[in-house]
């Protein structure tokens, strides 16, 4: 029961490791960005799970409603900020990939490394 109850956290760890693995194993720059995005998204799930309470209502204030258990809204607000940060990081990363494609004619990490060693020699 205890293990099933931590379902959200298993998903978080699984997604995080999937993203991290893609990030490390792939040499294509766009695939690396995909891995990074999955990795970051996993953390969003971690934060959102953290704020939830069993049987809790969304934290909205209405007249005449009292004595209700609310979910903690703060982690959700925090992660809203982190989502914005993640999107801007991805935007900069994709812009860099476009520039790399223009400058090198490829977005394969290995081919870029080869071109760099060729120009060094």
């Amino acid at each position: 029961m205890r293990i099933l109850g931590l379902y959200n956290y298993w998903v978080f760890v699984f997604l995080m490791m999937v993203g991290f693995y893609i990030l490390i194993s792939r040499r294509n720059l766009v695939q690396e960005i995909l891995g990074l995005t999955i990795f970051q998204t996993a953390v969003f799930i971690f934060y959102i799970s953290m704020g939830s309470i069993v049987g809790a209502e969304p934290p909205t204030l209405a007249p005449g409603v009292e004595g209700i258990v609310y979910a903690n809204p703060l982690p959700h607000v925090l992660i809203l900020t982190a989502i914005v940060v993640g999107v801007s990081t991805m935007a900069v990363a994709l812009a860099l990939v476009v520039r790399i494609k223009e400058a090198y004619g490829t977005i394969e990490g290995d081919e870029i490394a080869d071109l760099d060693t060729a120009s060094e020699a």
């Binding site: 720059l29 960005i33 990074l36 953390v43 934060y47 990081t89 900069v92």
Partner: protein, 489 residues
């Protein structure tokens, strides 16, 4: 007015960044940056004076009292780092005018200043905030603008270097978010002072994992060996002024953040007694000092050589922190400041050479000792400081570091510090030999760098000498800050 200085420090460069982004003229953008950086220096100096006189400043944002609202908390350590940031920005901006105009395309110049100001705002925010999530936001502001700054480098390899830095930096930042999340899970607070009280002193698995995530995440930002792989390329291919700025500020702020988390948030007892983090950090620092210095010796590009030397210098700084003694911490904080001065002046000298010669490869520096005497003299003094020769700042911090190691009977640590200095002699000498004892190879005579580049370079060089001869000011502040971190007030 004066009670709002902590927030003005961050808001002024942020607003200036927005203004420079819409300006079409690079020169006007530069002027705005210049005024802003001097204003930042002024504000940070007055904050330091205020902190030294009246003790720590706590500023509450928007009237929401902590731990609910975001709080800015400036003590002597953060004020010291703020002055360093303001000073470096105020010196490098005058240098940037001609250097950046030569190295960047015309249309990019004003965007460069915008990104520079954003990066500065982020670094200042990281240093002054007392809220861990706010720290992450500022970290990302400074990092994302640093990626774009590096990508503007004249060589196409700058793009790939910036991309690698982006991937590793984002992984580091995400690790930091995970760590902060775990801290929040256990304590329900994000305020540093609050966290320090709420974190249970005994062993707790979630808190331990949070410490691990935060240390690795900050280590990536810090380029702590063996997480330094992004640094050499990023420093080599970034525009000269950007390299000098980042080398003198970004890593120093990352060290500050590491010290803040290890000492203030988690507390010395938890970090070093329960978790025994020093047993991991000290060997890594020693390896970093040796590996960084050895790699530096074999480089053909002098900027890359200095970048590897930065990896070694970061080893010294973190080594100071992880000795966990008053002398060790003082050494770490001093070296944080001094390393900024020496690397700033060395990279600015490289900027002068890049401006006149168009290359910083060792082969292209033949005979520069005669054709660019002032630039090479600046390099030599910066290099002596890096080695740790008496009368330079490098000597002061290494003296404290060796003292701290000997105090605890760690002879191996002291030995490695001295060995690292010897290795620094070798790589600095390689440049001196080529520049002074070999004949110029090119047909066209190389002229000395323009005075507008030499003045900022020499300002930092003279700071190297001044704080090396009279270290009472810096070492006084550093030991005060060290005592504060150790919890002695």
């Amino acid at each position: 007015m004066s009670e709002h200085l902590p927030i003005l420090l961050v808001v002024v460069p942020l607003a200036a960044a927005a203004i420079t982004a819409v300006l079409r003229s690079g020169r006007i953008a530069w002027l705005v940056t210049l005024v802003t950086s001097w204003a930042v220096l002024g504000i940070s100096v007055s904050l330091l004076v205020q902190v030294l006189r009246d003790g720590s400043i706590r500023y509450v944002l928007g009237g929401w009292p902590p731990p609910w609202g975001i709080e800015y908390s400036i003590d002597s350590l953060s004020a010291f780092v703020l002055v360093l940031l303001g000073g470096i920005a105020a010196i490098i901006t005058p240098f940037a005018l001609r250097s950046i105009e030569r190295e960047l395309e015309r249309g990019l110049v004003h965007f460069h200043y915008s990104a520079l100001l954003l990066c500065l705002a982020g670094l200042l925010g990281m240093t002054s905030t007392g809220d861990v999530f706010n720290l992450f936001v500022f970290l990302e502001i400074s990092s994302i603008s640093a990626y774009t700054l590096i990508a503007m480098g004249p060589d196409r390899r700058a793009l790939h270097a910036a991309f690698r830095y982006l991937i590793m930096g984002s992984v580091g930042a995400t690790f930091i978010v995970i760590g902060i999340g775990m801290l929040y899970m256990m304590t329900g607070s994000l305020n540093m002072a609050d966290l320090a009280e709420l974190i249970p002193p005994e062993r707790n698995r979630t808190i331990s994992v949070a410490l691990a995530f935060l240390t690795v995440g900050i280590g990536l930002k810090l380029a702590l060996f063996p997480l330094h792989l992004w640094l050499p390329d990023a420093y080599t291919f970034a525009p000269s002024a950007v390299t000098a700025f980042l080398a003198a500020t970004a890593t120093q702020v990352a060290v500050y953040v590491l010290a803040r988390f290890l000492f203030t948030v988690f507390g010395m007892g938890f970090t070093f007694e329960v978790m025994a983090l020093d047993r991991i950090l000290i060997p890594l620092c020693l390896l970093g000092i040796l590996a960084g210095s050895m790699r530096a010796i074999h480089q053909k590009n002098v900027k890359r050589m200095l970048a590897y030397s930065s990896v070694a210098q970061i080893g010294y700084v973190v080594l100071g922190l992880s000795l966990v003694s008053l002398t060790g911490l003082t050494a770490g904080i001093l070296h944080l400041f001094n390393h900024a001065l020496m690397k700033g002046s060395l990279f600015l000298a490289m900027g002068c050479i890049m401006y006149q010669v168009g290359s910083v490869r060792l082969d292209d520096m033949r005979g520069l000792g005669r054709s660019m005497p002032w630039t090479m003299a600046a390099f030599v003094i910066g290099g002596l400081s890096l080695i740790g020769v008496p009368l330079t700042v490098g000597f002061i911090s290494k003296w404290y570091l060796v003292l701290g190691a000997v105090e605890q009977g760690r002879w191996i640590v002291a030995g490695v510090v001295l060995l690292g200095s010897l290795l620094a002699v070798i790589y600095i000498w390689r440049v001196v030999e080529v520049a002074y004892f070999e004949e110029a190879s090119g047909d066209e005579p190389v002229r000395e760098a323009p005075i507008s580049l030499l003045i900022p370079t020499w300002a930092l060089v003279l700071a190297n000498l001044y704080f090396g001869i009279d270290a009472t000011l810096t070492s006084g502040i550093a030991s005060g800050a060290a005592r504060l971190l150790m919890g002695g007030g």
